[in-house]
């Protein structure tokens, strides 16, 4: 009975999603709160759940905003309010797990659980801020960057 219910509701749940993940996509938005946008080639798109994230995208949140993304290599990346995160580069080979993931937090807060890229190679994932560059050795970490307030 229970499995019959799941079989019935599942297609509806899945059909509701808008975006479809293709090979060139870097990841997909899984959580979104408040004001949150993706800037892509000069356009501003709402950063809604199910939206794909691509190399070159910049994620921007307002004072009440946050966004969480699962990347193709299973890296989990989320940003808090008043944050700007650029996805500079994302390349992932699903057979060898080789590739590169470069992101820049221009301001705000960031939480990362690194994925298969960082596990395969210590050089694969780099996170930059205006003040520092982070080498990721397969790990969970947090970043806050911004100008000091007086």
């Amino acid at each position: 009975m229970r499995s019959a219910l799941i079989a019935l509701t599942l297609p509806m749940v899945l059909a509701f999603g808008v975006a479809v993940a293709a090979a060139q996509d870097a990841g997909q938005i899984k959580t979104s709160k408040g004001t949150a946008q993706i800037e892509r080639s000069g356009q501003k798109l709402p950063a809604t759940v199910g939206q794909v994230v691509q190399e070159g995208d910049v994620l921007v949140t307002g004072a009440d905003g946050s966004v969480g993304i699962t990347f193709r290599d299973n890296s989990l990346v989320s940003i808090g309010p008043d944050s700007v995160l650029a996805i500079d580069r994302f390349v992932f080979d699903s057979t060898t797990h080789q590739g590169a993931f470069d992101a820049s937090l221009k301001q705000g807060t960031l939480a990362v659980v690194s994925g298969k890229l960082a596990k395969q190679s210590h050089e694969a994932m780099k996170v930059r801020t205006p003040a520092a560059i982070l080498g990721v050795r397969g790990t969970e970490f947090l970043v806050r960057t911004g100008a000091a307030k007086d």
Partner: protein, 186 residues
């Protein structure tokens, strides 16, 4: 950009968290050639001015205060299920069928769910052959899931060949536990 000595220009904080899997990795924080390696839970670094990195220690409570919304926004971690195969075939071992309902339940409880099917082989046969076999296993599994009602577009496939054995063996050793497909739901 002007730097005023003795007066902080930045409010940067970098914190290494304990891994949820029990392992804590490492994070190297570098600012203009100055470096700190963070490799214990809640090890942290402050950058008050570019070119200075001060090692400090944070805590669970501080982290919640400083990074609460970013942590709350973290996506649910991917979960993997494993289906096993008969030797040198893309036929399921019989006990694998029971798992399918669990996989469906996991998919149903996630926002914007994606399914990644990753084929694996044991080390019998050459690498290129096993890359092909692992992909065939993943594709076979995709057909089954599509028959059960999961839209094709939600599913991607990958073949890892013999690179990621569940049980490490010497080359050319048959090992049923390595002939498997991983269904990762995220």
């Amino acid at each position: 950009m002007t730097l005023v000595v003795g007066c902080a220009s930045r409010n940067d904080l970098y914190v290494l968290l304990p891994g949820k899997d029990g392992k804590t990795g490492a994070l190297i924080v570098e600012s203009e050639g100055k470096k700190q390696t963070l490799d214990t839970p809640y090890a942290a670094a402050r950058v008050k001015n570019v070119g200075s990195v001060d090692g400090v220690r944070s805590s669970e409570a501080e982290v919640k205060q400083d990074f609460g919304p970013a942590l709350e926004a973290q996506p649910t971690r991917p979960v993997s299920f494993y289906l096993y195969f008969l030797a040198d075939t893309d036929e399921f071992a019989p006990e694998s069928r029971a798992l399918v309902n669990q996989i469906f339940a996991e998919i149903a409880r996630r926002p914007a769910p994606e399914i990644v099917i990753i084929g694996h082989t044991d080390r019998v046969g050459a690498m290129p052959y096993n890359d092909g076999l692992s992909l065939r296993r993943a594709e076979r599994c995709r057909e089954e899931l599509i028959k059960l009602g999961i839209p094709k577009v939600r599913i991607s496939v990958a073949g890892r060949g013999e690179r990621e054995p569940e049980v490490p063996t010497a080359d050319e050793v048959p090992e049923p536990r390595n002939r498997r497909v991983e269904i990762s739901v995220r």
